[in-house]
């Protein structure tokens, strides 16, 4: 069976090379049948990759320990579910997942891109093929998941911290996001290569970009939740390089989603948009590189491996090639319109873009700082939490405020008098909220109060926007409030879906501010019978309980409703912290208990954290998905219009 897997990967590799080379030739010399053949090769490569993936999955399911990968990442006692998710528990499997997802996206995007124009698509195929070739190359020559060995008695097991339901969905989600950003990149490059400056590539990739961005966001939230419940230090985000790796492309993609609207509405910022698409794609490759190469110390990166230089080379190549292409096409990308006023929707989008990109780049700076400082001074230096928090506050808080200001300002220009009127209610709400918060003693954290005041402002402006829109819709036609509300959203899904996502971001910010700026931490050593109090919760320690599970021994501290403790995994010879969390759904607060140290004299070192509003973060995740779905939902009216625009325009002449 490993031979089949290897053969499938080699087939995929050859097909992708063909798609890149023949595709480039066909697009360059305008050969229709060859272009079609290259496109078929891209599709067939997906099939071959799927066969390879099926082989690996089958090997995992059968515990075939003669596969080095299976032996290294599973053990016989590992439950079947986690055995299968070990597919992406290691480097080779993750790369295979990357290639598989890329294949899926490529096939779907190429086959549904009817309107983009054959000459553009002919260039998109080799770009997608090239990215695929890189990953196939790694899988065939550098990091094969189908290496074999004499089967050992048992496998090394899966890292206990990966044995969690979240780990089953978090990596695929992230990959759907990372890889999905290849689609807008490939189409942007395709359009540039074909010298097309119309917006068909944007229309064709709109949904893919949005979906990839949503997956990336959800993936990060799942990762944060995993860290919260499984790693057990009481937090959910630690500015670890691997976490930043996903945040950077997400920020760049967020900037793109906003700035592309200016191109669609006003025909401006064409250069900026292709730059952002390129940045987002490069950051997503860089993110994969960070996670997989271990070049930068991180608690979850895998140690130094041989694929690092390959990735670095590929990133440099992609960056240089796309920048050169954009530079060559600059004359084509000139906009015919210009920004009319500094007080307009476009201008707020520009501010938001610059802040998002600045935030992404400062994070990037922090991530590569150890490498740069080592190269310059010979001594590696690292930046830590204070650095990131400083920039999160100085760029994130203005971003939060802009989220409230943007929707209230009209396109093109707005007079200050009109602004005064629209801003009246949200500002009033924010001021009242700020005073109330100060009165309630929230002033202990200045950042917290600012974040909350801004949040109220944004929420008020979103509510106002929905309310005014609904009442205007109602005034137009004889429908009730519900009908008017539904038609408001249906007529502009992207705008109102976007507002829902904004609301999610605000809830997220409230949760983050609440759980970090206003948390209570207590630590104590408790002997059986002892008690401690945290945020009015009295905890009584009654001693330890232990039980033996198939692959681990579980020790739990009995504190009535709470059972924090540790698991000792046999095959992996590892201990993992098992925290105990109680949600208070009414206030959104969590009481979070960690059995930090189990002592031989029967006492426990207990760490208790009371985290206000933390559940809003996870709740925001659902709102985020809802908003993304509203924006993604197929829109028949829009489809008809696009069909009329493009088919009409290209058929008639």
């Amino acid at each position: 069976m490993p031979d089949l897997g290897r053969a499938a990967l080699v087939t995929a590799f050859l097909l992708l090379v063909y798609a890149s080379v023949a595709g480039t030739f066909a697009a360059w010399h305008s050969r229709r049948r060859l272009a079609q053949s290259a496109q078929n090769a891209l599709i067939a490569a997906f099939g071959a990759t799927a066969v390879a993936a099926a082989v690996l999955l089958a090997a995992l399911a059968r515990h075939d320990l003669s596969f080095t990968y299976v032996a290294q990442h599973t053990s016989r006692e590992l439950p079947l579910g986690y055995t299968l998710t070990a597919f992406w528990g290691g480097q080779e499997g993750s790369l295979l997942l990357w290639l598989l997802v890329l294949g899926g996206y490529s096939v779907a995007a190429v086959l549904t891109a009817r309107r983009v124009g054959r000459e553009v698509l002919a260039w998109v195929v080799p770009v997608l093929g090239l990215v695929g070739t890189f990953f196939a190359l790694l899988l065939v020559f550098v990091a094969s998941p189908f290496a074999t060995q004499p089967a050992p008695a048992d496998g090394a097991g899966l890292n206990p911290s990966l044995q969690n339901p979240y780990m089953a969905v978090h990596p695929p989600m992230l990959y759907l996001g990372y890889v999905g950003l290849t689609v807008p990149f490939a189409f942007a490059m395709g359009a540039l290569l074909a010298r097309r400056t119309d917006e068909r590539w944007i229309v064709a990739t709109r949904r893919w970009t949005l979906a990839a961005w949503a997956f990336l966001g959800v993936g990060q939230l799942l990762g944060a939740h995993w860290a919260y419940v499984e790693i057990g230090w009481g937090g959910y985000y630690a500015w670890d390089p691997v976490e930043n790796a996903a945040l950077m492309p997400w920020l760049a993609a967020t900037a793109y989603l906003h700035s592309v609207m200016i191109q669609e509405k006003r025909g401006m910022l064409k250069v900026w948009n292709v730059l952002l698409v390129t940045l987002a794609f490069c950051l997503s490759i860089f993110g994969t590189f960070l996670t997989r190469s271990g070049i930068i110390q991180s608690i979850h990166s895998f140690t130094q491996s041989s694929i690092g230089p390959w990735f670095l080379g590929f990133i440099c190549f992609i960056t240089a090639a796309s920048l050169a292409l954009i530079f060559l096409r600059l004359p084509l990308l000139r906009a015919k319109t210009r920004l009319e006023s500094l007080v307009s929707r476009e201008a707020t989008f520009l501010y938001n873009n610059l802040l998002l990109v600045a935030l992404a780049l400062t994070i990037l700076w922090g991530v590569v700082y150890p490498l740069l400082s080592e190269a310059v001074t010979g001594e590696a230096s690292t930046v830590s939490k204070p650095y990131y928090n400083f920039f999160l506050h100085s760029f994130g808080l203005p971003l939060l405020l802009l989220m409230g200001i943007g929707p209230l300002i009209a396109w093109r220009r707005a007079s200050l008098r009109a602004l005064g009127r629209t801003f009246l209610w949200p500002t009033a709400a924010a001021v009242v909220a700020g005073i109330a918060l100060l009165a309630a003693g929230a002033g202990s954290s200045r950042v917290g109060v600012i974040a909350y005041t801004f949040s109220v402002f944004v929420l008020a402006s979103i509510v106002l926007e929905f309310a005014r829109g609904t009442s205007a819709r109602k005034a137009l036609g004889g429908v009730g409030w519900g009908g008017a509300f539904a038609s408001l959203i249906a007529r502009n899904r992207r705008r109102y879906g976007g507002y829902v996502v904004h609301a999610a971001v605000v809830l997220f910010a409230i949760g983050v501010a609440g759980s970090s700026a206003y948390q209570t931490v207590r630590e104590a050593r408790l002997h059986p019978g002892d008690s401690m109090t945290v945020a009015r919760n009295r905890l009584v320690f009654r001693g330890f309980e232990s039980s033996t599970q198939p692959n681990h021994r579980a020790i739990r501290a009995n504190l009535w409703r709470y059972r924090p403790g540790k698991n000792q995994y046999f095959a992996e010879d590892q201990v993992s912290n098992e925290v105990s969390i109680r949600h208070d759904l009414l206030t959104g607060a969590d009481l979070f208990l960690i059995a930090d140290q189990v002592n031989s004299d029967g006492s426990v070192d207990l760490k208790a954290l009371q985290k206000p509003l933390v559940n809003l973060i996870w709740f925001a995740g659902f709102i985020f998905v809802g908003g993304s779905l509203i924006a993604l939902w197929p829109d028949a009216r829009e489809e008809r219009r696009l069909a009329e625009r493009y088919e009409g325009a290209t058929m008639r002449a």
Binding site: Q72, A143, S305, S306, L339, E340, A358, F391, F395, Q597
Partner: protein, 129 residues
Amino acid sequence: MARRGSPARLIVALSVAAVLAVFLLYTSIAGGGTPSLQPSQLQGHTGRVSLVGLVAGQATGDAHAGGLHFMLRDRHAMTSVPVVYKGSVPDLFKTGREVVVDGKLRNGTFVAVPNTLVTKCPSKYAPKK
């Protein structure tokens, strides 16, 4: 477009300047990062550093009472330094593991900042070469 004097250019220029200013402000207040050193490089550093090394020998003491005492040595050399640490000890901490801990060198002992101990993932999960 972007003709001379267009507001878009102005915005970009102003924002870039503002971002740069914020960045400079930060670096001037907080200085650069924390130096990341191995035990053999510790000599002469009196400020806060982040120490990277392998745990050598048995760890003794109580991280939640008098402090956990252990030795950290270079990845590829035998130079080592005693460390005293208080606070949470990660699950993966054990002899032979690579760890990172922040602190200051005082009288030959590295006094760690509480709760800064982090382990790196064991090499078992990386491909064998």
